[in-house]
C-alpha cells in the first residue's frame, strides 16, 4: 500500500510538472517558448505579422537584442526555450553566453531554429549555417540577382528583388494549399552539398539567377548561378531538430507580406505575394506542428497467439504490429501511408514487406521467419521528406528446431528402416539356428 501511494504521488507530481511546463516533449512535440534575437527592436514592428501569427498559434515569444548580455539558452542544464529565431543577420557576436557552439548545442539537443541572413551577413551567421550544411556565398558583398524572374517594381532597377516560385513539392513542408503567388526574396543565396541528405532546398532560384555584387561589374563568372542557388533551405538533423535558413530577412517582413507581386515576363499580377503563406507554413513545419511522427505499441507474436515470445523458431509464422501517429499541432492523428516497410534483418534484410494499415494508425504485417537462425531485428526505417525519421529496431533471436521438433520417421527413409530391422531379425534367426541346430 505504501509503495502504491508513493507511486501515485510520484506519477501525479510528474503529470503536474508536465501540465505546468507545457514545453516541448515527446508527447507534445510542438514548441512553446521561443527566443527571438534581433539586431534592432524595430524589427518587432516591421515583421509584426509573422510574430503575431506565431503568438496567435500559442507560442510565447521572448524578444531580445542580440547583444543583450543576459541572453542565455539554458540555465542549470535546463533549456529555457524550445525554439530560437535569429533575425540578427549582421551581429558579429552575441551577448551573454551565447555563441556558435551554444546554438549548435541547442540544435543538437533537439530544439528548433530559424535563421534569416541578409546581404552583409556576419561570419557568425555564416558559421552557424556552415555547421548545418548550408554554404552561403563566400563573397560577402554578393546578393542574388535575377534578370529573368525579378519582381516588377517601380523603384528598383538592379533586379535583386526576386519573385521566386520554384517551391518544393511537399505537402508536409508547405501545407496542402498550393502557394499561388511568387515569393518575394531579396538577399543572399546559398548552395547545398548534394551528398548531404539532411538538408532540403525549399525555395530555389530560377535558372537565370546568379549571385554577385550588383554594384560592381562581373569580372569572373559567379560562383553560384542558376537553379542550384537555394534561397530558403531546411535542415532536419538526425535527432529531428529542425532548422530553416533563409537568405533574406525581408522575406518575413510585413512589407513583403503585403506587397503585390508581378513576376517579370508574366502578365499575371498577384494582389498579395506568397510570402505570408510560405512563411506561415514553413514555420508550422519547423516548430513541429506538422510532419512529426511517432511509432508506439510495437508488438509481434506468432500468428494465432497474442503473447510476445522471447525467441522465434525458423519457419514460424509471425505477425508484427506498430502504430504510427502524426502530430497535428494539438493532437496525435493516425498516420496513413502505403509505403511503410518492415525488414527482418540480420546483416541484410531477409524479409522486406510493405505493411498494411487500417487507417487508424495501426500497421500490420505477417510473414514467415526465414529458414536461417541467428539474431534478427525487426527494422522499420521510415524516412520521408519532411517527416521526422522513424527508425525502429527490435532484436529477436531465431533458433533452429529443437531435437524433438524434427519428424520422427521420414517416408523417404523407409527402405533404411526396413533394412536395419530385417538385418536384426535375420541375425537373431541366424544365431538361433546356428546355436541350436545340432
Amino acid at each position: 500500500m505504501a509503495n502504491f501511494s508513493i507511486a501515485t504521488v510520484f506519477i501525479a507530481s510528474i503529470s503536474l510538472l508536465l501540465a505546468l511546463t507545457h514545453s516541448f516533449s515527446i508527447e507534445n512535440p510542438t514548441d512553446r517558448r521561443i527566443l527571438v534575437l534581433v539586431d534592432d527592436l524595430a524589427l518587432k514592428s516591421s515583421h509584426s505579422i509573422f510574430f503575431s501569427s506565431l503568438q496567435a498559434r500559442g507560442f510565447e515569444l521572448d524578444f531580445k537584442l542580440s547583444d543583450d548580455p543576459k541572453i542565455a539558452l539554458q540555465r542549470y542544464g535546463q533549456h529555457l526555450y524550445d525554439g530560437l529565431i535569429l533575425f540578427s543577420p549582421t551581429t558579429e557576436r552575441f551577448g551573454g553566453s551565447l555563441d556558435v557552439a551554444a546554438i549548435l548545442d541547442f540544435v543538437d539537443s533537439g530544439k528548433d531554429l530559424i535563421v534569416a541572413a541578409d546581404a552583409n551577413a556576419s561570419d557568425l551567421i555564416r558559421n552557424i549555417a556552415a555547421e548545418c550544411g548550408i554554404d552561403f556565398d563566400e563573397d560577402q558583398s554578393a546578393v542574388v540577382i535575377d534578370h529573368g524572374s525579378y519582381a516588377v517594381s517601380e523603384t528598383e532597377g538592379d533586379h535583386t528583388l526576386i519573385a521566386a516560385d520554384d517551391l518544393i513539392q511537399s505537402d508536409v513542408l508547405l501545407g496542402s494549399t498550393k502557394i499561388e503567388a511568387p515569393v518575394l526574396f531579396k538577399g543572399i543565396g546559398h548552395s547545398l552539398n548534394p551528398a548531404n541528405s539532411l538538408v532540403v532546398k525549399v525555395l530555389s532560384a530560377s535558372p537565370s539567377a546568379y549571385s554577385a555584387n550588383p554594384k560592381s561589374k562581373l569580372s569572373t563568372p559567379p560562383s553560384l548561378s542558376g537553379s542550384s542557388i537555394s534561397l530558403v533551405s531546411v535542415v532536419q538533423a538526425r535527432n529531428n531538430a529542425r532548422v530553416v535558413f533563409s537568405g533574406s530577412l525581408d522575406l518575413f517582413s510585413n512589407k513583403f507580406f503585403k506587397s503585390p507581386v508581378q513576376k517579370a515576363g508574366s502578365s499575371n499580377k498577384h494582389a498579395k505575394s506568397g510570402n505570408e503563406q510560405f512563411v506561415t507554413e514553413i514555420s508550422k513545419w519547423v516548430f513541429h506542428e506538422r510532419g512529426h511522427l511517432k511509432a508506439v505499441n510495437v508488438r509481434h507474436h506468432r500468428v494465432g497467439e497474442t503473447e510476445e515470445p522471447t525467441i522465434y523458431r525458423i519457419n514460424d509464422d509471425l505477425e508484427y504490429l506498430v502504430e504510427i501517429y502524426e502530430w497535428s499541432g494539438s493532437s496525435w492523428e493516425p498516420y496513413v501511408a502505403n509505403d511503410v516497410q518492415i525488414q527482418f534483418y540480420m546483416m541484410s534484410p531477409y524479409v522486406l514487406k510493405t505493411m498494411s494499415t487500417d487507417k487508424k494508425g495501426q500497421y500490420v504485417v505477417s510473414f514467415k521467419v526465414p529458414d536461417v537462425y541467428g539474431v534478427f531485428q525487426f527494422k522499420v526505417e521510415y524516412q520521408r521528406l519532411g517527416y521526422t525519421s522513424l527508425s525502429l529496431a527490435k532484436q529477436i533471436p531465431v533458433r533452429p528446431f529443437r531435437h524433438n521438433e524434427y519428424e520422427r520417421f521420414i517416408p523417404t527413409a523407409f527402405p533404411y528402416y526396413g533394412a536395419s530391422f530385417s538385418t536384426m531379425a535375420g541375425f537373431l534367426i541366424f544365431s538361433f539356428v546356428y546355436l541350436y541346430s545340432k
Partner: protein, 785 residues
C-alpha cells in the same frame, strides 16, 4: 599370448599368498596416496591466487555448465546462444563436446542431492584435479596390464605429476582435456584388458569408455586411429587371435554407433576421413578371421588352392573398392580431412593455408626446451622403456610402443598434443624405472642371500629390517611373470644365444637367467635413479607451483618493491557489466570473446570457438582499417564498444599489438584490400617512427596508443616492443575512450553515434569573431553530449 596376471598369482605357491595380500593392500594405499598427490599438486593455483576459472576456454565451459545446472539437459542440448557470434548466434548444444560439462554438472547435482552446497564454480575449478587422480589410476591399470603392478605404480606416480598434464589440469583449468586424458588412458586400458582377457564384457566397457572420450574431446580421433593401427600391426606380425577380434570389432561397431549419438560428431563418425582407418581395418580383420577359419576346416593343400583363388579375386575387388573410396574422398574439397587434422599430417599445412589455426600459440610446433619443460627426465627414460617393452614383445607392450611413437609424432606437430604424449612417456618411463629398480634390488637381494648363505646367519632379521623390502614385494611379481613370459619367445632367444656364444660370458648370463649386477654397481645405480626421480619431483613441483598455476586473468609480477597484482581483465569486464546495456555488443579480437560473455555477460561478435572465419576476418579487417572504415564495419554489426588489450605500459607481451599481424593476415585472407606488406617496413613489424602510415593509421594502433604519451611525459615508450611509439599525438574522431583499466591493460572505447548534422563545405571563418574561436575545437566532439 600374455598370460593374465591373475592367473600368475593363482599359480604362485600358497605360502606366499599372505605376502601378496600384504602387497595388494600396500599397492592400494600407494594408489590412494598417488590420487592425493595428483589432486593436491594441482592446488597451487588456488592457494597462490584464488579459486577461479583460468584462461579462455574454461570460461566458456563454465558458462555452459552454469546453463546446464540452471536449465537442465534438454535445454542445454537445444541451446541457441544469441550472445556470441552476433548476429549469427551459435547452436551450443550441437557444436560443443558435452562430456566435461555433463561430468561437472552431474558432480554438482550429486553433491547438491547430498546436501553439500558447493557452487558450480567450485565444482568446475576442482573437476580437473579430481580427474587427474582418476587418470593416474587409469595409468596404473594400463601399465599393470602391460608390465605388472610395479611398473603400474611407478607410471601412476609419474603421471600424477607430469608437468605437461599439470599445465592442462591445475585447479581452475576447466577444459575438455581435463577429463579427456583420463578417458583416453582408460579406453586404452580397457582395450588392452580386452586384448589380454578376450572378454566381451570388457569390450563393451571399452566402447562405453570410448563414447565418454568422444563426448569429451575432439582428440578421440587419436584413439580411433591408434587402435586400428595396432590391430593392423598385430595382424601383419602374425599375432591375430580371437582376443584381438573381440577387442577390436565391438569397439568399431558399438563405438561408431555411440559416437554418432554425440551431436557435435553426428554423421562425421562415418563420413570423414579421420574415421576411415577404423573401417578399413574392420574389413581386414574380418577377412583375416575368415581366412583363419577356413584354414582350420580345410587341409593345408586345399587351403593353398583356396588362398590363391581368393587372393586373385580379392585383389580385383579390392582395387575396385579402393578406386571408389579414393574417388569419394577426392570429390570433397579438403579431401575429406578437416583443417586441424590436415595440419597434423602436414605440419606446414596450417601456416600455409589457414592463418586462423596457425595464429593460436598452442597450435605451433613445440621447441626442444618445451619437451624438457613438459616431460623433463621422462624424455631420457622413454628409450629405456621401449627396450623393456621389446623384451618380451607382447600385444600389450606393442600397443604401448605404438602409442608412444604416434604421440611423439603428433606432439612434434602441435604443442597442445604434448598432452597426449605425456601419458605415453609416463608409462614408458614407469616401465623403465620399474625394470631398473627390479634389476638393482634383485642384485642386492641376491648378494644378501648369497652372503647370508655363506655366513650361515639368520637372513630373516636382515630382510624385514631393510627399507627396500616393501617395494620388492611389488617388484617381484612382474619378475615372475616375466620369467613365465619369457618361456614363450624362447625360440628366438635361443637363436640369439647361439649367435652370442662368442660374446663375453656376462652377456650370456644376462640372457640365460635373471640379470644380476655387481652389488656396488646396483647400489650406485639405485642412488642415481632415486636422484633422477628426485630431480623430476622437484621440477614437477616447481612447474606446478610457478609455471603452470597462473590463471592468466590475474597476473602477478615480482619487482624490487614487492609483489604486483594485475587484475585488469576482471576490472574491465566488471566495468562492462555494470556500465553498459544488457544488449550492447562488444567487439574485440576473438581471444577475449569467451571471457566477455562469461564475465561481462555482453554479446560479442567473435569468440574462441573459431567456427566462422569470415566473421573473424571482418573483425580483423576492422582492426586493421583506418578509423572511419572501422567505424562503418563495426556499426554495421551493431557494435557499441570496442575492447583492446594493451600491454605497452606494464610490459604484458601477449597484447593485441603483438597479435595484430594475425588480424591483418586473417582479415586479408577474406578481404584482399588488407595487405600484410602495408603494415611492415622492409618486412619488419614495427610501431616506432619507422612504421608504415597504414600501420600508424590502423584502428588497432590508435586504440592501443591513444593518450599513451600522457603516461610518461611525452616519450611514449612501449615496454613490450621496447621502443618509442611512432605517432604520439592524435585524436579519435569516430571512437571515444570510455574506460581504461588501472594498468592500461584493457582499454574500452565506445563508437560515437553518427553526427547529428552534416557540415557544409565552407571553411570555418575565424576572422573577426573572437568568441567563436576558443569553442570551435569542441564542435568536433560528439554532438550528443
Amino acid at each position: 599370448m600374455a598370460v593374465p596376471v591373475d592367473a600368475i598369482i593363482k599359480q604362485s605357491p600358497p605360502s606366499s599368498s599372505l605376502r601378496f595380500a600384504f602387497g595388494n593392500v600396500l599397492a592400494f594405499f600407494i594408489l590412494l596416496l598417488i590420487g592425493v598427490l595428483a589432486f593436491s599438486i594441482r592446488l597451487f593455483s588456488v592457494i597462490k591466487y584464488e579459486s577461479v576459472i583460468h584462461e579462455f576456454d574454461p570460461y566458456f565451459n563454465y558458462r555452459v555448465t552454469q546453463f546446464l545446472t540452471k536449465n537442465g539437459i534438454y535445454d542445454f542440448w537445444n541451446w541457441f546462444d544469441d550472445r556470441t557470434w552476433y548476429p549469427l548466434g551459435r547452436v551450443i548444444g550441437g557444436t560443443v563436446y558435452p562430456g566435461l560439462t555433463l561430468t561437472a554438472g552431474t558432480i554438482w547435482k550429486v553433491l547438491q542431492s547430498l546436501n553439500i552446497p558447493l557452487s558450480v564454480e567450485t565444482v568446475c575449478v576442482f573437476t580437473a584435479p579430481v580427474f587427474s587422480a582418476f587418470a593416474a589410476w587409469a595409468t596404473y591399470l594400463l601399465t599393470k596390464e602391460v608390465k605388472g603392478t610395479g611398473a603400474g605404480l611407478t607410471a601412476a606416480v609419474l603421471l600424477a605429476m607430469v608437468p605437461s598434464y599439470i599445465s592442462r589440469s591445475v585447479a581452475g583449468s576447466y577444459d575438455n582435456e581435463a577429463v579427456a586424458i583420463f578417458a583416453l588412458i582408460f579406453t586404452f586400458y580397457l582395450y588392452i584388458k580386452t586384448l589380454n582377457t578376450g572378454s566381451l564384457f570388457y569390450a563393451t566397457l571399452n566402447s562405453i569408455s570410448y563414447f565418454y572420450m568422444v563426448c569429451s574431446w575432439g582428440g578421440y580421433t587419436f584413439i580411433i586411429n591408434l587402435i586400428p593401427m595396432h590391430a593392423l600391426l598385430c595382424i601383419v606380425t602374425g599375432r591375430y587371435s580371437s582376443r584381438l577380434y573381440i577387442a577390436y570389432a565391438p569397439l568399431v561397431v558399438l563405438g561408431t554407433l555411440l559416437a554418432a549419438l554425440v551431436p557435435v560428431v553426428g554423421f562425421n563418425a562415418v563420413m570423414t576421413s579421420e574415421h576411415f582407418a577404423s573401417f578399413l581395418v574392420f574389413i581386414v580383420i574380418h577377412v583375416v578371421a575368415l581366412a583363419y577359419y577356413i584354414k582350420g576346416i580345410l587341409s593345408p593343400k586345399m587351403f593353398k588352392v583356396a588362398a590363391t583363388l581368393v587372393i586373385s579375386v580379392g585383389l580385383v575387388v579390392g582395387v575396385g573398392v579402393v578406386a571408389v573410396l579414393v574417388a569419394v574422398v577426392a570429390s570433397s574439397p579438403t579431401k575429406g580431412w578437416s583443417g586441424r587434422s590436415l595440419s597434423l599430417l602436414d605440419p606446414t599445412y596450417a601456416s600455409k593455408y589457414i592463418p586462423i589455426i596457425a595464429s593460436v600459440s598452442e597450435h605451433q610446433p613445440p621447441t626442444w626446451p618445451s619437451y624438457f619443460m613438459d616431460i623433463n627426465v621422462l624424455a631420457f627414460l622413454v628409450p629405456a622403456g621401449i627396450i623393456a617393452c621389446f623384451s618380451p614383445l607382447s600385444d600389450a607392450s606393442s600397443f604401448v610402443i605404438l602409442y608412444l611413437v604416434m604421440s611423439v609424432y603428433f606432439s612434434g606437430v602441435m604443442v597442445r598434443l604434448m598432452l597426449v604424449l605425456a601419458p605415453a612417456a609416463c608409462i614408458m618411463s614407469g616401465i623403465a624405472l620399474s625394470e631398473a629398480f627390479d634389476v638393482c634390488t634383485r642384485s642386492i637381494k641376491y648378494y644378501i642371500t648369497s652372503l647370508s648363505e655363506s655366513l650361515q646367519t639368520d637372513a630373516g632379521d636382515i630382510v624385514p629390517g631393510n627399507n627396500i623390502t616393501s617395494p620388492q614385494n611389488d617388484v617381484i611379481k612382474p619378475d615372475k611373470k616375466e620369467e613365465l613370459l619369457k618361456e614363450r619367445p624362447s625360440r628366438k632367444n635361443k637363436k640369439k644365444e647361439k649367435e652370442s656364444i662368442e660374446k663375453p660370458s656376462v652377456k650370456s648370463k644376462m640372457t640365460k637367467r635373471p640379470l644380476v649386477l655387481p652389488v656396488e654397481a646396483s647400489i650406485f645405480a639405485l642412488f642415481l635413479i632415486v636422484l633422477l626421480g628426485a630431480f623430476y619431483v622437484v621440477h614437477s613441483v616447481w612447474a606446478a607451483a610457478e609455471a603452470y598455476s597462473a590463471p592468466s586473468i590475474v597476473l602477478t609480477s615480482h619487482s624490487h618493491d614487492g609483489l604486483h597484482v594485475f587484475d585488469d581483465f576482471r576490472e574491465a569486464y566488471a566495468w562492462l557489466s555494470h556500465n553498459t546495456e544488457v544488449d550492447d555488443k562488444v567487439a574485440s579480437w576473438w581471444d577475449y570473446g569467451y571471457q566477455t560473455t562469461a564475465m561481462a555477460n555482453r554479446t560479442v561478435i567473435v569468440d574462441n570457438n573459431t567456427w566462422n572465419n569470415t566473421h573473424i576476418a571482418t573483425v580483423g579487417t576492422a582492426m586493421s582499417s583506418p578509423e572511419k572504415d572501422a567505424w562503418q564495419i563495426f556499426n554495421s554489426l551493431d557494435v557499441k564498444y570496442v575492447l583492446v588489450v594493451f600491454g605497452g605500459l606494464v610490459g604484458y607481451p601477449s597484447d593485441d599489438i603483438n597479435k595484430f599481424l594475425w588480424m591483418v593476415r586473417i582479415g586479408g585472407g577474406v578481404f584482399p584490400h588488407i595487405k600484410e606488406p602495408d603494415y611492415l617496413r622492409d618486412g619488419q613489424y614495427r610501431i616506432d617512427s619507422q612504421a608504415t602510415p597504414t600501420m600508424l593509421n590502423s584502428l588497432m594502433y590508435k586504440l592501443s596508443y591513444f593518450r599513451f604519451v600522457e603516461t610518461d611525459g611525452g616519450k611514449g615508450y612501449d615496454r613490450v616492443r621496447r621502443t618509442e611509439i611512432g605517432k604520439k599525438y592524435f585524436k579519435l574522431t569516430h571512437f571515444e575512450e570510455v574506460f581504461t583499466t588501472h594498468h592500461w591493460m584493457v582499454r574500452i572505447y565506445k563508437l560515437k553515434p553518427q553526427k547529428n548534422r552534416i557540415r557544409g563545405k565552407t571553411k570555418k571563418l575565424k576572422s573577426k569573431t573572437s568568441s567563436t574561436t576558443p569553442r570551435s575545437g569542441s564542435l568536433k566532439k560528439n554532438p550528443w553530449h
